[in-house]
């Protein structure tokens, strides 16, 4: 097994387990404080990575154009703030497994936008994938109605 697969598995485990810690944290800490703490730790990790030489150093930030900043700022607002806000908040009302599974259907949204906005076309196995994902989401939603 090569290093990239090991790292990918490590990433999946870390992403998977963080939800458990988040739910335990939110028994004692307000939602906004949890978001702030995770953002601060992420910021430290990202700055550390650039500092140790991944990429081309901090000077790159000076040469990034305004439109590119804008795109990433919007992405950050949607992903790190709104997305995380809804995701973490959902832990207060439903099980962590359900929340994580439902929120992990986001590639479907990306695909829908890719088709409608970017004009991309789907291939056969992607249709099956969307069908399976929607079926899974429906099962989890139905559980909520019981």
């Amino acid at each position: 097994m090569n290093l990239s697969i090991l790292l990918s598995i490590l990433c999946a485990i870390a992403w998977g387990v963080q939800s458990i810690f988040l739910k335990k944290a939110m028994r004692d800490i307000p939602l906004s404080a949890v978001i702030l703490i995770t953002l601060i730790i992420n910021f430290i990790a990202l700055v550390f990575l650039i500092g140790v030489g991944v990429g081309n150093g901090f000077s790159v930030f000076i040469n990034i154009s305004r439109p590119i900043y804008f795109y990433f700022m919007v992405a950050g607002f949607l992903n790190y703030l709104l997305g995380r806000g809804f995701y973490y908040s959902s832990f207060r009302f439903t099980s962590v497994t359900q929340s994580t599974s439902i929120s992990s259907t986001y590639p479907i949204i990306s695909v829908v936008f890719a088709i409608t906005v970017l004009g991309e076309k789907l291939i056969f196995h992607q249709f099956i994938g969307i069908g399976l994902t929607l079926s899974g989401a429906y099962l989890l939603m139905m559980k909520g109605k019981r």
């Binding site: 990239s4 998977g16 963080q18 702030l36 601060i40 099980s95 439902i102 079926s135 989890l140 559980k143």
Partner: protein
């Protein structure tokens, strides 16, 4: 009703997580290293949250925070950062077609960890297991 609210919030988070990469992709089309994009995105969110903390007293109340909760919030942040670092590292040395589908299996690890550590509060029935499996397989096929 509250469970449905949780599911709706999870679905809304999925919409946000789904739209964000459209903008990130537009940014990355400039040839910028994804790490810088992630740093700009994270810093934007962090600055907004700090403004909230400073100027809206009712948003964050630090007094009732217990060490137990703080400990788990820091653990979650570390896990998130480990995931971030390992994701970028894997992407830089491996094939995207392999790395992305593997990382999308994370709900399975959440389910396993919830089963092992939160049996008292997490209901693990056939709907949860089947739904999670279908979503993971579906997402891997869609990517």
């Amino acid at each position: 009703m509250s469970r449905l609210r949780g599911q709706m919030e999870a679905a809304l988070s999925s919409v946000c997580f789904g739209i964000a990469p459209i903008f990130a992709k537009k940014g990355l089309m400039s040839g910028l290293h994804p790490l810088y994009g992630a740093t700009i995105a994270n810093t934007t969110a962090l600055i907004i949250m700090i403004f909230f903390a400073l100027f809206s007293g009712r948003v964050i109340r630090w007094e009732p925070i217990k060490k137990y909760g703080l400990f788990f919030a820091i653990l979650a942040g570390i896990c998130n950062s480990v995931a971030l670092v390992s994701f970028y590292w894997a992407m830089s040395i491996g094939k995207i077609a392999l790395v992305v589908p593997i990382t999308c299996t994370y709900p399975l690890f959440t389910m396993l960890a919830a089963y092992l550590s939160m049996r008292e509060s997490e209901v693990m029935d056939i709907f949860t297991v089947a739904g999670t499996l279908l979503i993971v397989i579906g997402v891997v096929l869609t990517i």
